[in-house]
Symmetry: C2
Subunit: 340 residues, 2 copies
């Protein structure tokens, strides 16, 4: 590999001059500049990033900490981040925390999270990344798991509480929009298959659902709200329960596509026609939603956009560390298909 010294020799100048030409840090005569540029060409010179970084303390690298790269919607977000920072000539150092497996003991989970996050963070800090983006798969408040950092930090999807910049979407607004969509199609008896009872997304989406009903002057029916566990089977089972009600709903809003798939299965087994006898809506817009029979109306999360925005925030914080924390909430869109 050619070094600055080689270039300097070819151009018959000092390395300082070469450096000045490259960085434009000093005004030089056109002739010298030209000569140096030619030398750079002929030596096929590229600056050594390591030396540069050692000198400047900047690596032009963003550390991306993901809970699990295999978990949706992480790859989309990471894709958005990569694309965006690459435009500014930044690189991405990816560290996977492998947090996919669920530990059912709450305390164990929190402590395991803290340990792995700390390990991940210190690994990234050792690599001298200029900033860190944390990509969580779930709707969790977890900034309290982070030790104070001397570097910019942005949360994507999963978010912090107050101290840090984050980019996420609105559970509540999306659920409300979807409920309104159902109401707009003439439904008045709308049941909801929720996720785990006290989880954050369940609570927020439920609030959105209730808000939309109230807005429309519709009453909130206790029997129409049932709690699953985000899995297919619970959607299947709870739909059967809903069908056995005296006063059947005419629409079911499942809080994720997997439960919606289970719901559709139960309905088609019971020979309930979709959407004529029962409308079904989901949440997440997973691949499966397109291929259900009938294709599922659902909420599409702005995954790539979350990545892009998070990247823009980290770039801003890197260039100007005093930027105040920003809370960005991105709008979800309804994907209309035949199930409604």
């Amino acid at each position: 590999m050619a070094t600055m010294k080689d270039v300097a020799e070819i151009a018959g100048v000092s390395t300082a001059t070469v450096s000045h030409v490259i960085n434009g840090s000093k005004k030089l005569s056109p002739q010298t500049t030209e000569r140096v540029l030619m030398a750079i060409q002929s030596a096929n010179y590229t600056p050594n990033t390591l030396a540069k970084s050692l000198r400047s303390g900047q690596t032009r690298t963003v550390g991306v900490l993901v809970e699990d790269i295999r978990g949706l919607p992480v790859p989309e977000i990471v894709g958005g981040i990569g694309e965006t920072i690459a435009k500014s000539g930044y690189r991405m150092l990816l560290f996977d925390l492998h947090l996919l497996e669920k530990l059912y003991n709450q305390y164990e989970q929190i402590s395991a999270y803290r340990t792995r996050i700390n390990n991940g963070v210190s690994l990234l800090l050792q690599a001298h990344v200029d900033g860190i983006i944390y990509v969580g798969m779930h709707d969790r408040h977890l900034d309290y798991l982070f030790d104070p950092l001397d570097r910019p930090l942005v949360f994507a999807y999963s978010h912090g509480t107050s101290q840090d910049t984050y980019v996420t979407y609105s559970n509540q607004d999306s659920a409300a929009a979807l409920t309104r969509h159902l109401i707009g199609r003439g439904h008045q008896k709308i049941a909801v298959i929720a996720g785990h009872p006290h989880s954050y997304p369940t609570m927020r989406r439920l609030t959105g659902y209730q808000l939309a009903l109230q807005e429309a002057g519709l009453s909130i029916h206790k029997d129409y709200i049932c709690y699953g566990d985000w899995e297919y089977e619970s959607g299947y089972r709870l739909t059967q329960e809903l069908l056995s009600l005296q006063d059947r709903p005419t629409a079911i809003f499942a809080m994720n596509d997997l439960m919606a798939a289970g719901c559709i299965h139960a309905l088609s087994e019971a020979k309930v026609r979709i959407p004529q006898d029962m409308a079904v809506a989901g949440f997440d817009n997973r691949e499966i939603a397109r291929y259900l029979q009938p294709p599922l109306t659902t909420i599409a999360l702005p995954t790539t956009e979350i990545g892009v925005k998070a990247a823009l925030h980290i770039m801003e914080l890197i260039t100007n560390p005093n930027t105040p924390p920003q809370k960005e909430i991105i709008h979800c869109s309804i994907v209309e298909r035949e199930s409604v």
Copy 2:
């Protein structure tokens, strides 16, 4: 941040001594060693990776070039890589080529690939990665797109031809195994819904299918082989065609899960019972396979394992660059579900 100099001062020795203690590069008296270790502790010292790298030329970083992080099975492979290299204290620099969009002009595509790959590679080289893993989503021979590299290179999933190490799975063996599985269940009239006519995976899987039939002394029926385009709709349409045959098959092997989903759709519309009247098998074991009605028997690709093995190979090549190229082909497993 504390530096070696600080530690040396605290311990009352030279920086060289500190370096020797850290790297064990020379025998030192137990007292000095102890004193230095204490100093390291009290200064909370961590070595500066950048300086180390500049000096040694090694970054302990593996560059991972992915065609598109959003495309299955890339995240799983990347997860396997990350996990494995992290165990040896290596980091992962991820670069996404964003090759997801399909360019239908063949020449344009090849030249676009070459450009983006070259850009990605030079970006990784500039970052002084110790080795590169290329993760392709599709079954392509593409090592010819790479300029000769002075660093270890390993292909994962997508593979090179002869010069380089690669880790992949066997299209032919998997298709043969699945066909044998169908034959074992008593099927003699097995149709196949293939992918794009002349694509590599189509050819190889078809060979496997034909081989298994021949082995069992079954004849190969021209009408039972039809070509789709890997998409849901083609599975749907081709199944209808197969149903209209005089001599209907009793089993359909779709070369991916998406076409299998379309196939199941067509069958259930035609009131053909699965698996009683028609068995269906897919390939890929995407998430959707679990949730089809009935759940789909399919081939599970060893995605994580491919990542792990590719990582092991690159580590081997990094520590010993003279290791000869290895071609590793990993076995796929059949996931038995109710569609057969």
